[in-house]
Each structure stands twice: as C-alpha cells, then as structure tokens.
Amino acid sequence: MQMTMIEALNQALALELERDKRVVIFGEDIGANGGVFRVTEGLQRKFGVQRVFDTPLAESGIIGTSVGMAVYGLRPIAEIQFAGFLFVCMNQLLSQATRIRFRSGGAYTCPLVVRAPYGGGVRTPELHSDSVEGLFLQSPGFKIIIPSNPYDAKGLLASAVADPEPVLFLENIKLYRSFRQEVPEDYYTIPIGKAKVVQEGRDVTVMAYGAMVPVALEAAKKAQQEAGTSVEVIDLRTVWPLDEETIVNSVTKTGRAVIVHEAPKAGGVGAEVTAIINEKCLFSLLQPVARVTGYDTPYPVPGQEDYYVPNVPRVLDAIRRVMEP
C-alpha cells in the first residue's frame, strides 16, 4: 500500500499495540488529537486511554516516568513533541534512561523508545527544527535511528520497540508527508545499526540520513549529469551505533567521502564518520573528507533557515571539491 511516513509510523505503532500488551504510548497531545503531526491518530480510540494517553506538559516527567515503566516491564513509547524540547529532559535521558542497566550491573533494563520530530525547512518557530542527534553520541547507551523514507520508518520503529535498550527515534518533519512509498501492511523489521547503499557508484561516497538523503540523491544525479561522476549514496539510517563496515567498504572503494547532515558541524555524526575513515581507511582517500552540515550556530529563524540547511548546490559543490584530481 502507498503510504506517507506519517501513515507508516501510525501503522507501525498500531501493530505494536496489537502485538504486545506491554506497549504503551504517551506524550503531549497524542491522544484525542493524534499528535501535532497525527502520527498517533486514532490509536487512543482503538486501544483505549489506558494504553494511549496524554500527559501533563512536562518533558522530564514524560521521560522520567517512562524510565520507571520500562524498568517495571512495560514497553513505553514516549513522544516528545519536537526534538528541540529534548533539552528539557536531557537529564532523564542521559543520566537515567541510558544508565539504569549500567548502574544495576545489568539487573534492570530500560527498553524505552523516545520518538521526536526534528528537522528544518518547514518554517517553524524557534526550537522546532533543531537536529540534536550529535548531543547523544557522547552518551553511551542510546541507539539513535533517523529514517529517510516510509518503508524504513515502519521497519526500524518495529526494531526499536523490540530492542532491550533505550532508542531515540528521530522523525524528519519535512519527510512526514513529502512522498508516498509502497509499504507492506504486515509487521516487518529492519535491523538497527545497518546503513543502506541507496545508489551504487564508483567515484565518491556521499553519506546522509533523514531529509538529507533525497538531497544527496539529487546532488548525485546532477554530478552524474554535469561531469559523469559516479556517486555512491549511503543512507546511514542508524546514526548510533554507526555501520562502520558499510562506511569503510564504500570509502575504500571510492577513495572520496562527503558527509551531509542538518545538525551543526562540530562534534557531530559527520565528525565521527570522518574519524572512522581516518582510523580505518585513511590511505584509501584521494582527497580530504568533506562535511556539508548545518553551521555551528543555533538553528536560525524561518526567514533565514534555507541558508542553513544543506541543499543540493552545497552538496554538489562538496562533490566537485572531493572529485578534484
């Protein structure tokens, strides 16, 4: 069936509620309203207020109570309304959700999924567009998934719920309804920690995730047209842990690497991918690695955001740069 990412996620959540009585879904405005983006539309009506419920407007309270629910043995799926509001609950996420297992010598686990929309280009108020995944790389214990299409979103969300450890599931706002794709109605999973080569190529590896995948593909098309450059495009899909094998295999083959993400440049996924390349396949490189990212500033206001989010010309420029002989 042809579905948007919203529809695919909604179906994934409904399947989880059907499959497993331990699954509960909660957050702000996710009940009768179905979430501000309608990801949870109809779920409360179908599965009841006991399992799909609105919470008080308190992000730390949402995550803190979900830690307790996860330790108890439920499978909580918490929604934080926008990724920018994750700042409010960083303590419960990073000092608690990720550490209960570690602190208890493995006695208790915290199988929690935190979903949050993120990403720019949709003219939102401040802190509704921020990409925060980089902040979590230094906080061992979280897996971070960022799907780029409806099919992956559904299968990866199923894997996230099945995972015994906490998972941060970030959904790109621009991708929510931007296109439809054939998505099976049945339950299926896509493994966490596996990147996907979405386009094979010989000359340069472009790595991206979320809404930057279509941007990378478009830039790859242009590079092919203008200079006959054969671009391999990798959708990282899981940004922690990174699929080092796929990254290293591709860069070893092409000898050139471009990393694209919306998040700021400093200390982010791009920096980590670059470090992996340096450690594992530096001598395959024919040119320095290029990063095309958000700038090291706060995410700007709607009137200027288009200058911040990486676009096709910026990615194409980076491809040209690394393609210099």
């Binding site: 803190g64 830690v67 307790g68 996860a70 330790v71 493995g106 208790y108 214990g141 080092e244």
Partner: protein, 356 residues
C-alpha cells in the same frame, strides 16, 4: 477587592511517641517481634553507616553519606512495604534498602567502588545520585503497576533539597493526574549539604506541596519510627486500594556530615546538632520498648554486640570478595556490543594485563 493570601498551613507533625518515648498517640498493632525488628533495623542502619565511614577513613571505601539520625524515617518507611512493592531512593536511605532485603555484602561491595549485580528481586533501584530524578521513576513504576493491573505500590524517597527540583514537582503532578499507586516521601533532614531548609522553600512545610497537586499529604515526626510506620502503612493501603498517591514529609535531622567529603562545622551550629541529638530516634524507641516491658538495657547490650558482629562479618565477606574483571563494566552497557566496543574492550584488557 480580592484578597491575596498565603495558603494556611496548620499542619503539626503526626506523632505516636514523644521525645521521651512516651505514648502520645495510637500505637500500631504490631507483635513484639515486629517492634523488635524495627528497633534492630534502626540499629543495623546506624552501625552500617558508622562501619562504612570507618572503612572510608581507612581508604577501603569510597565517599559515603552518613545515615545518622534518620534511622526511624528510613526504617519506618520501608518496613510496611510488601514484597511486590517498588522502592526508589537517594543515597540517604540505605537503611530502607537493608529492610527491603538488599544484602549487606552487596551494599558494602558497592561502597568499595565496584558495581554489584543489583538484587532485582528486592524491587529496589540502585541509589540515585542525581537529586529528585528517582521520584519520577517511582511514579512511572506505579503507573506501570496500575496499567498492568498488579497489586504493587511504588515508593519514592528524596530529601528536602530535592523538593526544589523540577522532577520532584513533576512527579507529584504525574502521580496526581494518573492517580498512580505511589507514596512519595520527603525526608526533611534540615540540610542539603550546607544549604538550610529555609532556603529551599518559603512554604512552612513541604507536605503543603501535596494539596497544590491534588495529592493528599501528611507531616510526620521522622524521628518517631512508629509514626512513620503508621502513616506509611496508611498511605500504602490507600494506594493499593486504588485511592491514589500520598505525599509524606518526615521531619528529621542529619546528625552527621553530608558525606565523608563534607565538614558541617563550616556551615552549621554545634548547638543545633545538640538539640537534635537529644531527639535521637533510636533512644526514643528504646525508651518506649523498655516502658512496655519488651526490652532491657541488658538485652540492648547484647543486641549491640550481635549487630556489630553481623556488620563486621558482612564487611569481611565483602572486602574479601574478588574485584570484578577490569573490563566487566562493558557487560553492563549492552547485550549486543558493536565491533567497536569489542575493540575498546580488548584494548582495556591488553593494558590491564600490562599493569599486572
């Protein structure tokens, strides 16, 4: 004209025993054995605390927060709990954990600076370091019990300083909104390290916070183990029968330093400490037991010897337990380590071997 007013607070602490151990309330119907168990648990908590502090002074234990003076509060809140109940605490409630069945050796091993596999069958979470966060965990545990249709109640305990944190207030709010089967306990010991209670809140009590969240609350003399036991038992029964959360403030006092790294003479009056020493919870309960004919000074001397021996024996066992493998902490992160984690673990092992 509208009248702007402070919420009236006429709360007086609930008491069963006065400072002299005289009965001033309704004594809960406990067997002699149960009375003596409460007494023994308080004593055990005190001796345990003194032992870890001594070990720390000898360089054999890490930083430890004294439990001295709060034994009635910690024991009284844990004793009426049932096996299926959950407990989340700060570092000041070790005596509560002991009552709930966390082995002394497990605790002592952890104060050596190692991670024991926590005994999950006790349904206690490991002590919480980040102030007030555990109150939300308790509420989540209670919400889960309610969703699962189980008969369990969750108890969250924090100190007076924790009431200033957002998480404490969010915990009360979630508990009220979801009518969670939880009991939230504030051990008001007067001090948050060096900051006195009056700087945490302008409200006359922390118990007064409850009604603002629609959560019934009670103020109790935290140095009266029977009073704490009694209100706790009632709060647990309320929660268990579907009547929702209760907030309890226990008025007590931290007789010792915040931790072994703290020097309270820098910020508080010795005279104040003396006033509270006179309200010693163990002495108070002993007087009650003797007045009831359940106890004697002679038996007390015997108990001291028995408890000290038990603690020393547990300490000997824990101190002689082998340290964990240097790389064991990798086990506690994940069941499915990435190749990268395995590489890092191998690196640790290689250098750990070189050290030997």
């Amino acid at each position: 004209m509208v009248t702007i007013q402070q919420i009236e607070d006429t709360m007086t602490p609930y008491q069963i025993l006065d400072v002299e151990g005289n009965v001033v309330g309704s004594v809960p119907k406990l067997s002699t054995e149960q009375f003596l168990q409460l007494y023994r648990a308080m004593y055990l908590g005190r001796v345990f605390s003194n032992k870890i502090i001594a070990l720390q002074r000898q360089g054999r234990a890490t930083t430890f927060g004294s439990l001295l003076g709060q034994e009635a509060s910690a024991v009284g809140l844990a004793a009426p709990m049932q096996a299926q109940d959950w407990l989340t605490t700060s570092y000041r409630e070790i005596a509560s954990l002991i009552v709930r069945g966390v082995p002394l050796t497990t605790l002592i091993y952890s104060f050596r600076g190692f991670t024991p596999v926590f005994p999950k069958e006790t349904r206690c979470l490991p002590v919480q370091i980040v102030i007030a966060t555990q109150m939300l965990h308790a509420v989540g545990l209670g919400m889960a019990a309610k969703i699962a249709g189980d008969n369990a109640v969750a108890v969250g305990v924090c100190g007076d300083g924790a009431t200033s944190e957002g998480d404490f207030n969010e915990a009360l709010n979630f508990a009220g909104v979801f009518q969670a089967p939880v009991v939230l306990v504030v051990q008001n010991n007067g001090w948050a390290i060096s900051v006195p209670r009056r700087l945490q809140s302008a409200a006359p009590t922390f118990a007064a916070r409850g009604p603002g969240f629609g959560v019934p609350s009670v103020l109790v003399d935290g140095n009266d183990v029977l009073a704490v036991y009694d209100v706790m038992q009632q709060a647990l029964a309320r929660a268990r029968s579907g009547h929702g959360p209760t907030l309890i403030e226990t008025l007590t006092y931290r007789l010792g330093a915040h931790t072994t790294a703290d020097d309270p003479t820098r910020y508080r009056d010795a005279a104040e400490v003396e006033v509270w020493k006179a309200k010693d919870p163990i002495v108070r309960f002993k007087r009650f037991l003797i007045q009831r004919g359940l106890w004697s000074e002679e038996q007390d001397q015997q108990l001291i010897a028995v408890v000290e021996e038990e603690i020393n024996e547990a300490a000997n066992i824990a101190l002689n337990m082998p340290p964990p493998a240097p790389d064991s902490f990798f086990d506690y992160l994940t069941d499915s380590p990435t190749p990268r984690l395995l590489e890092q673990r191998a690196e640790l092992r290689r250098f750990a071997q070189q050290d030997q």
